[in-house]
Symmetry: C2
Subunit: 193 residues, 2 copies
């Protein structure tokens, strides 16, 4: 498998961590988003959406979207709950991540750390919704050690990717003790600490 990814991107690291956890071999092809390397003709032929991560599976077929890739890689493994309801909850968190967490927590980090914006210059909407996303995580993680019950799943992989670096976008975790403890727990479970 070839993984086209940018090492600064949490979405790309999800794929790396999942492959590493599962012991799947791969070639990592560093693809610099800031240099528009995901917008070249060759890249767009593989993934017309022009986004990383994207993978080329061993049989030569492409797959994109971080959460779809990790689902595909992890099918049949312990990272996807065997129980159908728990699987549904895992996907609930993964879709929520892309709609209600990443566009605020990851975007704030990108604008602050890589584009040089001050936290005070971020759109108010980003600050409000990012804080709401962390509060939503805190509520769940005050009740269960992982997002879906008592075992690590792809929901944790998807959500930890940007939560663990949320301070880089101005979202400190001081007010979210359950989230902080969970980040450490997931890093240990995945071996990425």
């Amino acid at each position: 498998m070839k993984i086209y990814g940018d090492s600064i991107s949490g979405n790309c690291l999800k794929v790396k961590w999942t492959a590493d956890f599962l012991g799947r071999g791969y070639e990592w092809i560093e693809t610099d988003v800031l240099q528009s390397q995901s917008r070249t003709a060759d890249f767009l032929a593989m993934n017309p959406a022009g986004q990383v991560p994207a993978v080329i599976l061993d049989d030569g077929r492409p797959l994109a979207q971080s959460n779809a890739i990790i689902f595909h890689l992890a099918e049949g493994s312990a990272l996807i709950p065997a129980d159908a309801y728990d699987r549904g909850r895992m996907l609930e968190w993964m879709f929520w991540e892309q709609y209600s967490h990443e566009p605020y927590i990851a975007v704030a980090r990108f604008q602050v750390k890589y584009l040089g914006k001050a936290v005070a210059e971020l759109e108010p909407r980003i600050l409000e919704r990012g804080a709401a996303a962390l509060a939503r995580l805190e509520l769940q993680l005050g009740q269960t050690p992982f997002l879906v019950g008592d075992r690590v799943s792809l929901a944790d992989v998807a959500l930890v990717a940007y939560t663990r670096v949320s301070h880089e976008g101005g979202f400190g975790l001081e007010a979210y003790p359950a989230v902080r403890a969970w980040v450490a727990r997931v890093e240990q479970a995945l071996g990425i600490a």
Copy 2:
């Protein structure tokens, strides 16, 4: 099953269409987002994200996020490809929908049709990215009758929901003939024409 949904929301209609297609019985509980009925204490106790759709399954357990709900309902049915790679591609489209399509195509429609904005007043980013999303669909649907090969799947359910009403947000489909033909094909396949 109880479905809490707003009939004006494509995300909610995805759940209705999937349940209808599968012959699953349900009680539809109309939940008016414009009246903040998804923000009451009772609703938030069921879905702390404060979003519709949300369902209460027959065993009393809740599930949220439109694409997670339809995945759960459709497990083991023909709406999810039996082939693992095709299943991955289906999820790729579904995650892309929530990140790169819905925030532009659905948001434009909401602002124009329900908040009374003029199309010219929409953020330029919404217009650009909405058009890019439709171009991405056109590219695929010039090659295959459905988003994943030659059979209808949840990818089509997820993407048709707002694409079929995209003109209500100013995104006419005149320049996208393959998308137009696909909308009709999916509506017929799902029995929602």
